[in-house]
Amino acid sequence: MAKIGVFTCWCGENIARNVDVDKVSEAIAKLPGVGCSMNYKYMCSEPGQSLIATKIRELGLTGVVVASCSPHMHLKTFRKTCELAGINPYLIEMANIREQCSWVHSDKEVATAKAIELIGMAVEKVRRNHALQPIRVPVTKRALVIGAGVAGIQAALDVASGGVEVVLVEREPSVGGKMAGLSETFPTLDCSQCILTPRMVEVGQHPNIKLMTYSEVEKVDGYVGNFKVTIRQKARYVDIAKCTGCGSCWNACPKKNKIPNSFDYNLGNRGAIYIPFPQAVPARPTIDPDNCMRLQSMKNGKELCGICAKKCQTNAINFHDEEKFVEVEVGAIIVATGYQLYSIKKEQENPRIKGYAEYGYGKYPDVVDSLQFERIISASGPTGGEPKRPSDGKTPKSVVFIQCVGSRDNAKGITYCSKICCMYTAKHTMLFKHKVHDGTASVFYMDIRSGGKMYDEFVRRAIEQDGAKYYRGRVSKIEQVMVDGERKYRCYGADTLKGTPVVVDADMVVLAGAIMPSSGVTQLAQKLSVGYNEYGFLSESHPKLRPVETNAAGVFVCGACQGPKDIPETVAQASAAAGKALIMLSQPELTREPEIATIDEKLCAACGACVKACPYQAISIEEIRDRKGNFIKKTSRVNPGLCMGCGTCVAVCPSKSADLIGFTDDQVYAQIESLADVF
């Protein structure tokens, strides 16, 4: 038999001024099942709370309604009161007679009547409340970081230094990401390798970091605190435990310097066994199976070449290596898969994105993208930092830089600003001018976006000190022409400030292509249940207040995979993500509100409507079998680790087998029906 205590608060004058609290208590006392109804000046105060506690104990109340302010204000307070008094904290409901009544209705009679109805609704609900226990889940104190660019490196080092183990997965043979290939970096023009290499080495040596390069995430199971992740380690054909990195193999490979090196964006060459760049971590080679003569010949049962293995003193080379699957258990996941440049050329993979046939990228050898230019002027690049154009190795005297290529171009299918190209283009003009003093750097831009500490000063320096010529206008077309026997690239542009067309003949053209998320990121996002936008940039929970969390509990994002970003922002975000992961992993166990969905498996028709509707992929269809393993029926099942309690499944279930604890159909209908008498 229900015995409900109803405690009406005056909130000083706040409620009592417009609601006749005595009349309320009187009316409520008459409701069936109400065991006590009283009012007090400040229910949330110490004496107010002890009044409630005393009544709970004295009368053996089975449920409590506090009629006062918004539950967002004090539901937690009164739950604690109940718990202290010895009843389950989920057996209390609040009626909001302040924000929804006394503060918004001045007619006292009307407000009093409404207060009585609101409390009546709460009484009907609490009568149907059940004792609930918060869900507790254990936490595996280990984090997974996916992607080892500067974002992944920073996040891994921070988590590891916080005393938590990290598994760092990188799909390339070396860590470092794009930053490892940059020349000097804005806004300070320090050498990229000089600042990144020490951290790459640290990642390779940190006792808390298990580095898995040339590996990708295959499968993700489980939920926050308890993920089981399967990682695929690609066949490297070199046992990096045995290998010392001596280099005898790659120096002897007959394919040495014959295969385009993707790390140099195909401007330089490597061998079939190679390290992508000298500072690679791990400093261990990889065999490229498509270009190795031995591995190719083995397909036909032959054994050609094999020179590298003969040279190797440590027997590290294994032509029979195979890909391996490794399962790791982690409590939190940080995604740091970075970006790639929009490919610019006429042919595009994504049908929604169009290329720039008018710029001849991919057709004209000296029309390069911005990352290629980074390699061309990088001291570690294929030309040793001497600016040379790809077609004939001549030093370019006139370079045209074009901004917003792809970015902000609706016709090509990308509407956003890539945010960093204004800055790196200014940098490019400076680095070029520092190396070719009599050269001309011309920039075509639409707007200069240089918001950041010392950023605008940086751009102004490019113009004022280094004499870069900035034209405000887009380029319409680039044509390869011969001028006095010299190959030139004629850029048909505009100077919108002057209001005329401008034509500039360049020896080389650099296109600042749009920043796009790394290939394959959407498949990864689906494995992790992380949202992404139409371009594939991963979605944070809230752009301002939860910038590194995602809506998948326990999964965090940082760096350019979330949106275009420069290094300072990337690193800041990586540390933030590491911090958030450490906060989560520092708890002995995770508790979650018990207000989640349940399925009545007897009723469920396994139609799958809920599975499709659930925004968190928390429901799946499973088979019920008897003890002998005979199939009985299919049913949907909620994973309590994933369910966030939104109730969408309940609304879509045609057989009414789904319900939401804490907001059950039973409770909600009772609330509505309580109005039947007064309506």
Binding site: S70, P71, H72, N96, R98, E99, Q100, C101, W103, V104, H105, S106, D107, E109, V110, A111, A113, K114, E117, L118, M121, G531, N551, E595, A613, P615, Y616, M644, G645, C646, G647, T648, V650, A651, V652, L660, F663, V668, Y669, Q671, I672, E673, L675, A676, V678, F679
Partner: protein, 149 residues
Amino acid sequence: MNAETKSTDAFEPKIVAFVCNWCTYLGADLAGTNRLEYPANIRILRLPCTGRVDFNLIVKAFEIGADAVLVSGCHPGDCHYTAGNFHARRRWDLFRELLDTVGIDLNRVYFSWISAAEGAKFQKLVTEIVDKTREMGPYEDYKKLVAES
């Protein structure tokens, strides 16, 4: 409404509102904090998300005598649950058809987005709904329909 305090012939519309916990409920709280007065004809039911609202809940509200129903949640894209209100929105077209089929006057069902910061919008909306419903008069048709069947 309370029959003793109001003269019986003056029609007081009865409105049931299903609102989400994270946006519209907080918007209503803000209207309160700012003392934005609005008609007392509305009864709010707090649900986690508008995604939780199904067709039957709306029908139920009319069955017990509501003259209008409001469903209000977060703005699209701001949903606390990523996509819950998106589902609600997609269902909305279906709702309308179904409601129409069971004979509910679609002019009596309101769907809106009110954020936690939009106390004034909440005040305005409730006032408008009450005014409009007052104009339309009591929803006798549906009650008759229920009584007949």
